[in-house]
């Protein structure tokens, strides 16, 4: 059995549509595939998420049938995670502009180095929204990440409703 590497499924900053959809194969282990923590799935967030500054390591997991959603799970606390999604699936022309400091912090040299993930909030009534104001940007090569506030954040909303089916 093969699984999709999560790092093929993001969008870049400027060339997001062209970079979408690339898949890499990894070899399965005896564990349930979606639960497997591998070095290449561990995301390092030196500054944490806003409000969760002390939690700096996450693992990005996929569960079969849940694409395009991914789980950003706390490495040291498997019971807590954030549901995230590539914005390409939600708003195809989404293009957050990163500040020079964020580009430096993440050591991005090319827009294609960046994978963007947006936090999804699930609501009790089966509704969901996506945070477009504070995307998580991951350097695909180093897996260093930061929740950034883009310089054009004013153009995007915090709770972008997505229409979902149960």
């Amino acid at each position: 059995m093969h699984c999709r590497s999560v790092f093929g499924a993001g969008t870049g900053i400027a060339m997001r549509n062209e970079t979408n959809g690339r898949l890499m194969k990894t070899v399965a282990t005896s564990e349930p595939e979606w639960l497997t923590v591998r070095k290449e799935n561990i995301i390092c967030m030196p500054l944490g998420l806003l409000g969760f500054e002390s939690i700096k390591q996450y693992v990005l997991l996929t569960r079969p049938g849940e694409e395009p959603f991914l789980w950003l799970q706390m490495l040291d606390d498997p019971n807590h995670s954030f549901l995230v999604v590539s914005p390409f699936h939600v708003l195809p022309d989404y293009s957050p502009e990163l500040s020079g400091d964020d580009v430096k912090f993440l050591a991005l040299t090319d827009p294609e180095d960046a994978m963007i993930l947006n936090v999804v909030t699930l609501r009790p009534e089966g509704q969901a929204s996506v945070n477009l104001k504070g995307p998580i940007v991951v350097n695909r090569h180093t897996l260093r990440a930061k929740q950034v506030i883009p310089t054009n954040a004013v153009d995007y909303v915090l709770r972008h409703p997505i229409s979902v089916t149960a």
């Binding site: 806003l50 694409e67 995670s81 999804v120 409703p161």
Partner: protein, 84 residues
Amino acid sequence: MLILSRKVNECIVIDGRITVKIVRVEGEIVKLGIEAPLDVPVHRQEIYEEIQRNNREALTEGRPKVPRLPRLNGVPVKDAKKTE
């Protein structure tokens, strides 16, 4: 709270590594220039707090069932309205 008076172009130094400069004063608006190391995040308070709140709300315990987007395979969800 420490309160300091500053003129335009004057600075405040915090912890020897963060500099806050008064760049311009236009009526009720004060423009600040902030120089801080890359590992010191600097945000406008309101936006910081609203993202923080949203993250807390989004934190998920266990593995709830995830809803499905109506269309997959790269076909965008077009009917998602851009409203707050």
